[in-house]
């Protein structure tokens, strides 16, 4: 299985993602944002970081970069596109995912482990994961998911909520909401569930000695599902 990680100026989780993808069997290639076309891939990943220094709005400048047109074409043809953290912000700015990630409610940069509840397994990203709750890492200043009332209804009706912030038992209530995100949303799909954007970093949880292994479950499932 071939994957492509796109590097924007200011990306900083691109190499972690490369390590994670290769560890679980992907043949990964790194693609520069100013390239015109993405090489043949089964999965495209927009990594975390601070593309273009978060100028204007997080992800807005990267969302207009040269490579993005081929990412949009790939996504619209049903290809798997995964955006983590800043990658999620870029996906909302391109319009591939609805809503926007605003500044965290309490204005602080949050860097810690959180629990997220898997809300929909009818898709390639979570299909064979046996757990309902995963422990993953977040590190962001703009993770406060927001969309209009009508959009939220449509997201809920179409099963587009992927993961929500919760406690270790899976209670995804306001008490377990780290950043003010609407409905505790930590990640969403597009309608067809081939595009996933989420704030937590599975690539940071693939080593039992350094962090944890719930990220491994995510990548193991991904390579099996493809």
């Amino acid at each position: 299985m071939k994957s492509s990680v796109i590097i924007f100026p200011g990306s900083n989780c691109d190499r972690d993602m490369d390590v994670a993808l290769k560890k679980f069997g992907f043949e990964n290639q790194m693609v520069w944002h100013n390239d015109a076309e993405i090489p043949k891939s089964d999965l495209i990943v927009l990594p975390g970081g601070f593309s273009y220094g978060d100028y204007l709005r997080c992800g807005s400048i990267a969302g207009k970069s040269r490579i993005i047109k081929s990412v949009i074409d790939f996504a619209n043809s049903g290809g798997l596109v995964l955006g983590i953290c800043n990658g999620f912000q870029i996906l909302t700015e391109t319009g591939l995912l609805p809503g926007i990630l605003q500044q965290n409610k309490y204005l602080n940069f949050i860097c810690k482990n959180v629990f997220v509840k898997i809300k929909n397994k009818e898709n390639k990203y979570f299909k064979k994961i046996k757990k309902e709750v995963l422990e993953l890492h977040i590190a962001h200043n703009e993770g406060n998911y927001f969309c209009s009332h009508d959009e939220l209804k449509s997201i809920e009706d179409n099963g587009q909520i992927a993961v929500t912030y919760c406690d270790h038992k899976g209670n995804d209530d306001e008490k377990n909401n780290p950043n003010g995100a609407l409905k505790n949303i930590a990640g969403i799909f597009n309608k067809d569930k081939n595009i996933l954007g989420m704030m937590p970093h599975p690539e940071r949880m693939i080593d039992p000695f350094l962090s944890g292994e719930d990220g491994s479950l995510f990548f193991e499932n991904l390579i099996e599902s493809l």
């Binding site: 807005s60 207009k64 204005l107 927001f146 003010g180």
Partner: protein, 77 residues
């Protein structure tokens, strides 16, 4: 010609920075400040002599890049 644009958050959208500024002002004895909303201001030099043409180009820029219409409104001055 120069075109000026102001981008602000829509009514009802949470503005934590504005809130923090308001609270700071209140703490500085400006206690009659009840709300602050923070926005962005752009000066755009367009190589176009016709004012309405320049403004219509800037309007496109607002829709495509300068503002995110999910949470922001723009005003061309």
């Amino acid at each position: 010609m120069k075109v000026k644009v102001i981008v602000t958050l829509k009514n009802g959208v949470l503005d934590p920075q504005g809130k923090a500024i308001q609270q700071t002002l209140n703490g500085m004895t400006f206690d009659n400040v009840s709300e602050v909303r923070q926005g962005k201001y752009f000066d755009i030099e367009v190589n176009e002599a016709d004012e309405s043409e320049a403004k219509s180009q800037v309007e496109e820029m607002c829709k495509k890049l300068l503002a995110n219409l999910v949470i922001e409104d723009y005003k061309i001055l």
